[in-house]
Structures are given as C-alpha cells and as structure tokens.
C-alpha cells in the first residue's frame, strides 16, 4: 500500500530514460515523489518543503543532470541529508553530582510516559545507577497503581502518595526519600497533558522550577502525525526539554514525527521504545530512522547497491596485487569490466563530492573502454600475465589481430603502464575508505584523455 521510494523512483526514472533526456523537470518529478513519500511518513509539511529545497540545491551542486543514474544519486543525497537532519551525534542522559539527579518525563496523554519511566529505570539500573521512581500523575485513574506495579516487576522502588494531589509536593518528598535511601537517580512520571491546556502546562513548569531536573525528556508516540511539531514546540517553549523519547517504534509506522521534531526543536532523540516488555528500550539510531522514514530497509539496500556497483572486494584484490607489483593485463581487463558494470562512470563519479565538478566538461566515452578491451583480448595468455614481453613484433601482431593501428596498441600499453604507476601510488596512500577507493576511476579517467 505504501509504495516504497525505490519503486517510485524507478518508475520516474524509466520515464526519464524513455524520454532519453534528463531535464530539470525530471528532477522535479523525482523530488515530487520523494515529497509524497515523506508526507506518507508523516514528516511535517514545512519540514518537507525545506528539506526538498535543500536536496534540490545539493543535487544541482552535484550535477545530477549530467549523471546517468540521477535516481540513485538523488536517493543518496536524500539519505545523507536525512541522517544529517536526524542528528549524527547520540547523546545520553545527563547526570550531576547532586543526589539524586532528576529526570522529568513529560508528554501528551497516552504517549507512553509511565511504561517508559519504568524502562528507563531498569536501563539505568543495569548501567550501575540506583534509581527511584516517583508517581506524579495524580489525574489518570490508577496511574499511580500502574507505576507501583511496574516498579515491583523491575524491583525498583516507587515513591507514591495516594493522598497528595500536588505533584510538586510528591516529587519533593521523593527527593527527600531518595537522599535518605541512597538513590542517586529520580525519575519523575507525570500526567499526560495537552500543550494548549494552560493550567496543566503551568503545573509541569512549576514542577520543573521546583525540581530543577538534570534532564527533561519529552515522550512522543512514533505514530504521531503532523501535530507532532506543534506539541513538541509548545512543550519545548515551556520547558526547554533536553531529549526526545520515541515510543511504540515496534509498530509499522514510518515515524516521520521524529524528523519533524528534530527539525523544529533541534533536541536529540535519545531513546526509542520498541515493545511492551520493560527491557524493550533502545538507544536511538538516526541512520536507521532515516531509512525507515524513506521506506523501511529498501532505501538502504538501494543506496548500497549504488555504492557496491564498484565492487570493493575486487578493488581490494587489485590493491593487493599492486602492492606486490603483480598488476597485469588480466587485472586490467577485470578492472575495465568493473567500470563497465558501474553502468556509467560519470554517474558513479558524481556521487563523490567534488568529482562531479571535475567531470563537468568531460564526456565519458564507453567506446574507449571497448577499444582497450579489444587490444588486450588479442594478447596471448603469456603476454597478459607478463606485460614486459610486449616487444615490437608482438605489438604489430596485436594491432593486426584486434583491427587497431600500432599507435592505438601503443596507447593502450602506455595507459596500462600509467595505470600501474597510478595505482602503485594509490596503494601507498593509507586511505582505505570507500571514497578513496572510488576516486580510483576518477584518476583513471584522466589517464584515458
């Protein structure tokens, strides 16, 4: 039902290919599809609009129009931008030397504060903290009892006072209790409240003022739609919370709310709830969330496919050979085959920051590759394995056999030797990252000129 982005983009791309031309309109069309995907994932309207503009600018900067795989390129740009937006850094809970450090849980009704409070207590206990829970939801029927039961399940004490209706008083008594009982962390569960309920918002602001918590966590249901930003912003304006908790992420929601909230209040998402059991708590992974928003795991594999089209294990083998000075014409052939497999040099190269510009006025000609191949294929097995054998007579024979001129054969040999040199140089570079490896064909392109 929710078509994934890959399929949609493939469709758009097919159309583009059918037209045989990549235009500004095509890019817009791709971006429109992405826009729809983001709306379907509940990313906020304004956030999407800005995001799409950013991606468009980036795509233009990367010269997407000139690449033969614009879809893949755009997807890569989007994925990168999304991860960037989601926040690469993962920050934990802040503690101070004060006994106890106080964590205040806030959010809308039914967002999952109580369950998450218990999960967090269990999690922190496993990290060596000594938590106490405080039941400050004095409104919802049986909310206090709920926390009491959860505390029992995880063997963590819960401070309650069934006769007290003032959360400030309850939580201050809980602080006292924590001090007397060597509890270094206090987690305060509060009632769910609407951001527009002034009285209730004032109540939680008073709670903040009185407790001066080390950490305020805003708990939000991952299934939330467009309203997520309104609520997050209102809570943030009032409380300046430190982190976001995304609950019920074990459902099949795409969770665009996460992105919206991050974009609007710029507070890290610290945890996610991924089940009803009390150990179903996870530190938040921005990268996974990015792919989830774009359509489950598909997008990751799509990007990976684009990246893997330059076979890294193969290029690793090549490096190995180079280091041992064993790069021969068979390897050269294999290398050319790899480049052909990438479908398009410029398409792949334009994924490398900076490389797109480098190639700007350079037409990539697949025919060059075919020519080189035909020359090598006319070499004997021995000649391919031992490039030094190629004397004048052998070169003549190869030229005749492949239907090339002797000059062309010589050019291929020269290219091969330059290639050897270049790759030897490359393998001396300590760089092992993918980008380094992908620069290989970029340099190779210069050799072909």
């Amino acid at each position: 039902m929710l078509d994934d982005l890959t399929n949609k983009l493939e469709t758009v791309l097919k159309k583009i290919r059918g037209q045989g031309k990549i235009t500004d309109t095509n890019i817009d069309e791709s971006l429109r599809e992405i826009r729809r995907v983001l709306f379907d994932a509940d990313v906020n309207y304004k956030v999407v609009t800005k995001f799409i503009n950013d991606v468009k600018e980036k795509s233009i900067g990367l010269n997407v129009l000139n690449s033969i795989t614009p879809g893949q390129l755009i997807v890569k740009v989007i994925n990168d931008e999304l991860i960037k937006l989601m926040g690469a850094e993962r920050s934990g809970i802040k503690f101070s030397d004060r006994i106890p450090s106080v964590i205040l849980m806030v959010g809308l009704q039914g967002s999952g504060k109580t369950t998450f409070s218990a999960k967090l207590a269990k999690h922190l206990k496993s990290k060596g903290r000594n938590p106490l829970l405080a039941a400050c939801d004095v409104y919802r029927p049986a909310a206090i009892e709920q926390l009491r039961i959860l505390g029992k399940q995880i063997s963590i004490p819960v401070y309650t006072d069934d006769n007290e209706k003032n959360p400030v008083k309850i939580s201050n008594a809980a602080i006292q209790y924590a001090r007397e009982n060597a509890r270094d962390t206090l987690i305060v569960d509060t009632a769910g409240r609407l951001a527009i309920d002034e009285e209730m918002m004032n109540e939680v602001a008073a709670l903040k003022k009185s407790l001066n918590p080390e950490e305020i966590l805003f708990v939000v249901d991952a299934m939330t739609g467009q309203d997520a930003v309104n609520t997050a912003k209102a809570f943030h304006d009032k409380l300046d919370f430190d982190g976001v908790v995304l609950t019920k992420l074990d459902g099949d929601t795409r969770g665009g709310a996460a992105l919206s909230i991050k974009a609007v209040v710029n507070v890290p998402i610290k945890f996610s709830g991924i089940g009803e059991k009390l150990d179903a708590i996870e530190e938040f992974h921005p990268d996974r969330m990015a792919s989830r928003i774009l359509g489950k795991g598909d997008i990751v594999s799509f990007v990976e496919k684009a990246q893997n089209e330059f076979d890294l294990s193969e290029s690793g083998k090549l490096e190995e050979k180079l280091r041992k000075n064993k790069f021969d014409y068979n390897d050269f052939l294999a290398y050319l085959a790899q480049i052909k497999k990438m479908g398009s040099l410029s398409g792949l190269l334009s994924m490398i920051p900076g490389a797109g510009k480098m190639l700007k006025n350079q037409e990539v000609d697949d025919k060059v590759l075919v020519k080189i191949e035909s020359v090598i294929q006319s070499m004997t097995k021995k000649e391919r394995e031992n490039p030094n054998l190629l004397n004048g007579t052998r070169r003549r024979r190869i030229a005749d056999g492949s239907g090339n001129s002797i000059q062309q054969v010589n050019r291929v040999i020269k290219q091969f030797e330059d290639m050897q040199k270049m790759m030897r140089q490359f393998s001396k570079d300590k760089g092992r990252g993918i980008m380094k490896k992908m620069k290989l064909p970029a340099n190779f392109m210069n050799q072909l000129k």
Binding site: M1, R36, F39, D40, A41, D42, N44, Y45, K46, L108, Q109, G110, S111, G112, Y139, R140, P141, A142, A143, E145, Q146, L147, R148, I149, L150, Q153, L194, A195, I196, D221, M223, T224, G225, Q226, D227, A228, N230, T231, K248, D250, G251, D252, T253, R254, G256, A257, E276
Partner: protein, 314 residues
C-alpha cells in the same frame, strides 16, 4: 430526546474550535487574502490539508475536485468558496445513519455486545467509561468486561470508570486470559439480562500477529455465547495519529472480520484527526464518536454534517 440535545451542542463546537481555527480559519484567511483559485492558492490549500493529516491522496483528490468545481461553477465570493470546499470535504466522509444519535435506541438484541479495540494509549478505557455512562443515563443496564489482563493496573483504571458511570464490571484477578474474561462477562450478562456489554481490550500494535490472534479468540468465545455478537466493534483512533491510522484500521478490521466504527479521541487538542477522512475513503468505516476531553461527559456522537459545519463556522 437526542444525545446532542442532552449534552448541549455548544460542547461540540467548543471541542472543535481549535480545529476550526487551524483548518477553516486558515482557509478563510487564505480566501480573503487571495480571493482567486490559482496555483498558489491550491498549494496553500494543500498545506492546510496535509497539516491536518488528511494524507497526500486525500489532499490531491480534494484539490482536484475543488479545481474542477471552480472551473465549472465559476465561484464568486468567499462564502461560496467555503461552501464548495466544505461540501467536497463532506463528500469524502462515509455517512451512515447512526442509531447512536441517542443512547436510548431500541437494541436489536440483548445483551448488545460492543468490543473496543485499538493501539496502546489511544483512549479505549476512557471512551468505554464515557460510553457506559451514556447508556446508563439512557436507562440501560451496562456490564463492562475488563479483558485487558496485560497492562499494569488496567483493572483498577476500568474499575474507577465503572464506578464513575455507576455500572457493573467483571474482571478477573486470577486469570491472565482475556478471552475467558470476555466469556465470563457475556455469560453473566445473559444470565442477568443485562442490556449492554462493553469489552475493554488491551492496547496492541496491529502488526503483532500473536496479539491480533488473541483478539480473534476473544471474538470467538463471545460468539459461543451469542452467535450474533459482537454487535459493534469500535476501533479507537487518537486524533494525533498520522498516516499509520489507516494501517491500524485495516489490520484490526482484518483480524476481527470487519469493524463497525471509529471513536476519534483527543480532539480537544491541536491535532485535527484528518486521518479519519482517509480511513473513510479507503474503508467506508464511519466515525461514530469523538472524544473531547478526559471527563466522563467528554464524548460526543459524531455526525459529519455538524462536524463539518462546526469546522466551517465563523
């Protein structure tokens, strides 16, 4: 006597005021500012629709229709434009005539069994308390069955609501099998001659097949006692829910062989609950009630006409 009369129509408007401010207030301002349907206008309309969680498909459908109507009708002023948009939105609602307009309707069979389902924390238990209260006030005897044997203190919470509504409740402290509580409840209702049975269920995410199986079992055991039951199967949807709401409705419907209505809760907040339009459109599943607060009176019968009118009221 109609239910709306009983609770006063003002409350509905009050509950929807924020929604009105957001959706229609914007449209009004938009019409005032532009006064003509051009691309920019439609784009802003799109923003309003998307921001209300209508979803891209529904937004596009509405915009296409409004565009077409604008060409054929050659609309003139703001009032007409509002009416046009209003009527197009209302067309998306799947309308049924609901006997719930008053709670003293003649039950086709007693006990009349209602099952309430939904994902975690949407407001099932609260809505059940409110429903029970309404039936009770309409002179019907009510028995609530507490088939949430999973969530901590779910029993206590429902118990409090039963007391507030002054109705009977069956809960089992000993069993953790929700189906057997449902069975006991319906059995007891039959022997006591109770008019209405409402079964509360534990919140569950619709993609968890073992939990959906559990629901099927609840329904099966109820049918062992009353083959025609359940007479109503309500899904509760939180107004803050985004596009996932459709998945929720589809999956619960699949597990239970169909649903009979939506209870849309938390409309007293800033969320618009626009996802129900998409559910209406895709599943022809009507909204039956709306929740507009945490108090026992904060439940209203949904009626697309007054709902949309309240939305568009100045």
């Amino acid at each position: 006597m109609s239910f709306l009369d009983k609770i006063g129509f003002g409350k509905l408007k009050e509950g929807l005021n924020k929604t009105k401010d957001n959706l229609i207030g914007k449209v009004n301002r938009l019409v005032n500012a532009r006064g003509v349907i051009d691309d920019e206008f439609l784009e802003e309309l799109e923003e309003i629709f998307i921001s209300s969680d209508l979803g891209m498909d529904t937004a596009e459908l509405l915009i296409t229709r409004i565009k077409e109507r604008a060409v054929t009708d050659k609309y003139i002023d703001q009032k007409e434009l509002n009416e046009l948009i209003n009527s197009e939105i209302r067309k998306v609602f799947y309308e049924t005539t609901s006997e719930f307009k008053s709670f003293d309707f003649g039950l086709k069979q007693t006990p009349f069994v209602i099952i309430v389902v939904g994902v975690n924390g949407v407001g099932k238990t609260t809505s059940i308390g409110k429903l029970a209260n309404n039936f009770k006030k309409a002179g019907k005897s009510v028995l609530i069955g507490s088939a949430d044997t999973f969530r901590a203190a779910a029993n206590d919470q429902l118990d409090i609501w039963a007391k507030r509504a002054d109705v009977e409740i069956i809960q089992s402290k000993s069993t953790s099998d929700p189906a057997s509580v449902a069975f006991d409840t319906v059995n007891s209702a039959v022997s006591k001659g109770t008019d209405v049975v409402i079964i509360d269920t534990a919140g569950r995410l619709h993609n968890k097949s073992h939990l959906m199986e559990e629901l099927k079992k609840i329904k099966r055991v109820i049918q062992k006692v009353i083959p025609e039951a359940p007479h109503e199967t309500f899904i509760v949807i939180d107004a803050t829910t985004g596009q996932n709401g459709l998945n929720q409705a589809l999956e619960f419907s699949k597990a239970l062989d169909g649903l009979t209505g939506i209870i849309l809760t938390k409309l007293d907040g800033t969320a618009k609950g626009g996802i129900v339009l998409k559910i209406n459109k895709e599943m022809k599943l009507p909204v039956r009630f709306i929740g507009v607060g945490e108090q026992i009176d904060d439940l209203q019968v949904f009626d697309s006409k007054s709902f949309t009118e309240a939305l568009f009221e100045k």
